[in-house]
Symmetry: D3
Amino acid sequence: MNGFACKANFSPSDFFSSGLAMPMPTDNMLGFTVTPANVMQIPGLNTLGVSMARADFAPGGLNPPHTHPRATEIIFVLYGELDVGFITTTNVLVSMTIKQGDVFTFPKGLVHFQMNNGKEPAAFIAAFNSQNPGVQAIAATLFAAMPPVSNSVLSKAFQISYQEVDEIKSKLGGKP
Amino acid sequence: MNGFACKANFSPSDFFSSGLAMPMPTDNMLGFTVTPANVMQIPGLNTLGVSMARADFAPGGLNPPHTHPRATEIIFVLYGELDVGFITTTNVLVSMTIKQGDVFTFPKGLVHFQMNNGKEPAAFIAAFNSQNPGVQAIAATLFAAMPPVSNSVLSKAFQISYQEVDEIKSKLGGKP
Amino acid sequence: MNGFACKANFSPSDFFSSGLAMPMPTDNMLGFTVTPANVMQIPGLNTLGVSMARADFAPGGLNPPHTHPRATEIIFVLYGELDVGFITTTNVLVSMTIKQGDVFTFPKGLVHFQMNNGKEPAAFIAAFNSQNPGVQAIAATLFAAMPPVSNSVLSKAFQISYQEVDEIKSKLGGKP
Amino acid sequence: MNGFACKANFSPSDFFSSGLAMPMPTDNMLGFTVTPANVMQIPGLNTLGVSMARADFAPGGLNPPHTHPRATEIIFVLYGELDVGFITTTNVLVSMTIKQGDVFTFPKGLVHFQMNNGKEPAAFIAAFNSQNPGVQAIAATLFAAMPPVSNSVLSKAFQISYQEVDEIKSKLGGKP
Amino acid sequence: MNGFACKANFSPSDFFSSGLAMPMPTDNMLGFTVTPANVMQIPGLNTLGVSMARADFAPGGLNPPHTHPRATEIIFVLYGELDVGFITTTNVLVSMTIKQGDVFTFPKGLVHFQMNNGKEPAAFIAAFNSQNPGVQAIAATLFAAMPPVSNSVLSKAFQISYQEVDEIKSKLGGKP
Amino acid sequence: MNGFACKANFSPSDFFSSGLAMPMPTDNMLGFTVTPANVMQIPGLNTLGVSMARADFAPGGLNPPHTHPRATEIIFVLYGELDVGFITTTNVLVSMTIKQGDVFTFPKGLVHFQMNNGKEPAAFIAAFNSQNPGVQAIAATLFAAMPPVSNSVLSKAFQISYQEVDEIKSKLGGKP
């Protein structure tokens, strides 16, 4: 649609989502859930170059190290306290503890993470400069891909034994 | 900085702002205040293509019709209820009433506005796909520019008298 | 087509328009007419990132304040004399009187206008860095959109009464 | 400048040129002169992505085959009649005869030319989607570069003798 | 495909080509052959913005002056020795002799060429920042387009006679 | 430089590198070495949007899982045999065994790797659609960043004990 007179039928709801309004359950292995509001949920975002997501954290919850191949991310903390960080291409960790109302930035394509080391739940709203930023959670990408990444690659990359690779694969839901 | 090893000195605070955490006073003519978190406040945003802002509304408050010449905007309502809308290039008003937790989109460059027709304060967080989106509030742009836009232009554009132009200029802080 | 071997059938006329050759009638409320030559008229412009338009002005004619959400504009005056201006995001009016053969620029997304304060007709050729620049004439966008923008928004934005809003709407062809 | 409040000093003339108003002399080998109005002449064009130029043709005048490495070109004929053409990447010549008021397009990076086969002078205004489109006139690029392109390259490319290469170089102002 | 979950069916071979592995015959007029590996051969390249090609040269072989309208080119010499050059928009020839393992760059849209002045075959791998860079070999573009570029244009551009134009056209496979 | 007349001094060597001509030693932990030819080595690449690199592998050598935050990569195998793969954003491993002369593509921002499971050395030339693609080797990014990523993050992300995290950190040269 794009706000211009070239798509025949659209309605205000094509530019709208209520899906980020409520906290999502975080009773999983990571104590963390992400809820997207991108072009899949908001069709009017097509070609517009933005999207949003909500992240909910239990106490101790972790959004594990991941990248967005197509977007920079900027977040606003709704409540709680989070330890956040990204790593530069020269392997410098850039990290802070941020709390309700704070804004932090994760540059395009760089590995980053957020962890709730507080005693209360935490949540943030993220915005991206892509209607479809994509995400690769590093551990799952490597240890739970299908078909599986071979143990020889993972063993050598992390300098761990094949058995240790298999244990991580098993815990993350991957196949040997 | 950009997450890459080419700027000599940077710190995590270059990617951070706490400026959106608190509501700003809205006791002005419009009952509305915007607080930016763009490359001026967050130097690390340079070249990263995102920014944020917070908008606070008194009951009856209005973010008057305006455009961002360089960005699409996507908003998340922190609290309260807002009547929001944008107008397409074929003069169709696309509008909705949105409330806490809702997300809405304003396509790049199009005139849009938000109004708090509820009885409680309202606030939203906006994200942009530019580190420096710019803004032109239409009424102030036309009636309070310096040097002033001539009465002949404004009278003819809005089909009002010179006296009416001068009255609007006066109320919006412009010069005859 | 794009000059590359991927569309099966095209002809030279897909890159051509004769529609800007003649002045168009200007006997309307504004004393102004614009004639486009964009991707709608010249299909070969698709993906090429340029387009043109012709603007004709009666004496006293006005191209009222407007924006192009997707393009910078550069104009060449064919004949006559025009007072032209744009307003920056810091509300500075940048204006000049230009005449036959002069070139002037209106930066991407900014509100701008042209008025013929001379005694003879005037015309210019405009070029845009988009095959589909779009346009929003501010007054009509706000006062003649369908469905209409509410009087509460317009009254507060321009600091005029509901009755004055309705009068402008009526004159610009909008609905109360 | 860019219309945004980040350059300290600018004036309306930074967005203006009067250099295209008058025909330029065409009493040269090709019967053709081009006059640019790009970021070199109009400093305000920086980052805005547009520019213009004027081309004047004597009867029989030729703007010889050339490319713009950074822009699509769209032209408007001021007066006279021109045979224009571009060649696609599949070696199809796309050509037309165009006259006063006509618009024609030359896709980005493709070889194109214009010739005045009429009995009167001709002129057009060109617009580009770059503030600095660049130009390479093919014959001069190959036969008058400094240092010179070797005769072995040119002889083999055009299947002509070294002597013929030297003759073209001499006529075009190049060195053997 | 683009590495993202939006195309239903793809396989590793969509990102693969074996077509550049072997030298191609160079027993033609120029002693030169180019073999592409772009989006036509590797469908997975769509939207990814890269492609490759292989160039093989007989001793004395020439990749004649040409442009890529949509890409910068960077090459790696597999074997042999090549005289390479490009010409800037100010008509400066930038040239070198390069050999096995060397890397050289041809900026976007500029005329460039490579010639094997050695006694052995030579080959290079080229990469482009477009999945579909396009190519225009200057001599063939001008003298072998269909329909043909008129002799008046070519005669005047190269300052040669109609008969010389026809001879070049004939040798390059064009029509008078 | 960019091939255009705006930098005062440049020479052909600004567009050249001989640094990829020879295999580099691979007697390290991974049996792998990468040699860049980007804007750091070839200053003329600035703004041109391409670069190259050479990768050398001992038998058993691994280019461990990594991303390029700013570029798609396309490779050409100089000699040897490699098992290569990337993982999509839906966690599908796309992998192949490729050999001398083969071409393979790694889409922008996605995690990918190459391993030499053959008995002979292997090498490839990579090209990128950025003059400065950047790289993040995942294991080193996470386990050898400075300051270190906390054990709580890594333990939870990979579902391993703090002791196992410390062992990996130690082997990869990181700090506890």
